[in-house]
Symmetry: C2
Subunit: 216 residues, 2 copies
């Protein structure tokens, strides 16, 4: 198998796993949880010296290519292992390229930190350790990027395109939905953004997403 993906589905590693599954690219999943020390072994640090999952190793004729940073991993798999024919998640035009790049960086810089706070303090942490006031403040700040996303999706819908970059699901949607899905525990907040809610539902219900998330 030329493509190895390190991580687990219940982490940012869902992003490259989801990308590979959307494309139907064969890969070897190397189960690597972020807890318990697996990302701090000498063997793993030789792959990603930052000590984070995911990491992707692509064994190619010209040598192994190593990728880390989850968004970079997803974009790399789309670009290098997908066909840019306008049928796959791979950006196929300069405009689709622009959408994939701008929305994946946007998700990291405008959405991810507060979305993670909502996930942790509304759902993921044990109830007695949650701090609802942190989630409240994060939800309040999230109205700014969610409004930007809502307006973009409404404009897309108005011109007959159901997704961020085109009238098909692309890696731009994958990158943003993988972060936006963390906001789902804040149902009242999401309900204020109907285009975001419908789009997010369409993304996370895709079979490849469910398969990726289920990988232990």
């Amino acid at each position: 198998m030329t493509l190895k993906i390190y991580g687990i589905g219940a982490s940012r590693a869902a992003r490259p796993l989801w990308a590979a599954l959307e494309l139907g690219v064969p890969f070897e999943h190397i189960a690597t949880p972020y807890q318990g020390g697996a990302t701090r072994t000498l063997e793993f640090l030789a792959i990603n010296p930052n000590g984070h999952i995911p990491a992707v190793v692509d064994e190619r004729p010209e040598g192994a290519v190593t990728v880390w940073e989850s968004m970079a991993c997803a974009l790399y798999i789309a670009r290098v292992h997908g066909k840019a024919d306008g049928q796959t998640i791979t950006p196929a035009t300069p405009r689709e390229e622009a959408e994939a790049l701008r929305w994946s960086f946007w998700a990291v810089s405008e959405l991810e930190s507060d979305a993670l706070t909502v996930l942790m303090h509304r759902m993921a942490m044990p109830a007695d350790q949650r701090k609802p006031e942190l989630a409240d403040r994060a939800e309040s700040r999230l109205k700014v990027p969610l409004t930007v996303l809502e307006k973009h999706l409404q404009a897309q819908n108005a011109k007959g395109e159901a997704f961020l970059a085109a009238n098909r699901f692309t890696v731009a949607d994958l990158c943003v939905a993988s972060v936006a899905s963390w906001v789902r525990p804040a149902g009242d907040l999401l309900a204020q953004y109907p285009a975001v809610s419908a789009w997010l539902h369409a993304c996370v219900e895709r079979p490849a997403h469910k398969q990726a998330r289920a990988l232990k």
Copy 2:
């Protein structure tokens, strides 16, 4: 002119400006400072609803393509306006693609916040408003990513490659150097990383970088 770049050189807009200048791509520079309200006009918000510089508008035969997020803008210009012939800043192989993607996201997630604190509290802010203790803590944390960068550059040098992705300056270097340059006010810290220091010097001394930074 098909390519418009909104921003000023003394900001994150240096990234797309630098990329265009490296490639020798003609562009129109629309001076847009981040202070004083220019990013909050209705006209600018129609280009970037997030209200940040830089923004890039690429007028193409098939329609205008709008990019924002500084790293996305630089990567877009490299990919769409550069020749992938192994002579330019444009990634020309899967490995160079991986380096450009992973290092640009890494710079945002592992380097940028602390590097900005160093820049602000060691140099950019008026002396009486600086908080040296914030810069001290940021410098302490920066040892982790700077060690990762140092080891990568040492390994690159050992195989005869002077830059992050190849034996030539590419958009990977541009993205990381544009952030790492903010650490320069912490001279004692940088001196502990000789490969980083030499590489950073080589990057920022490039004529295209100086031209980009000088654009008002």
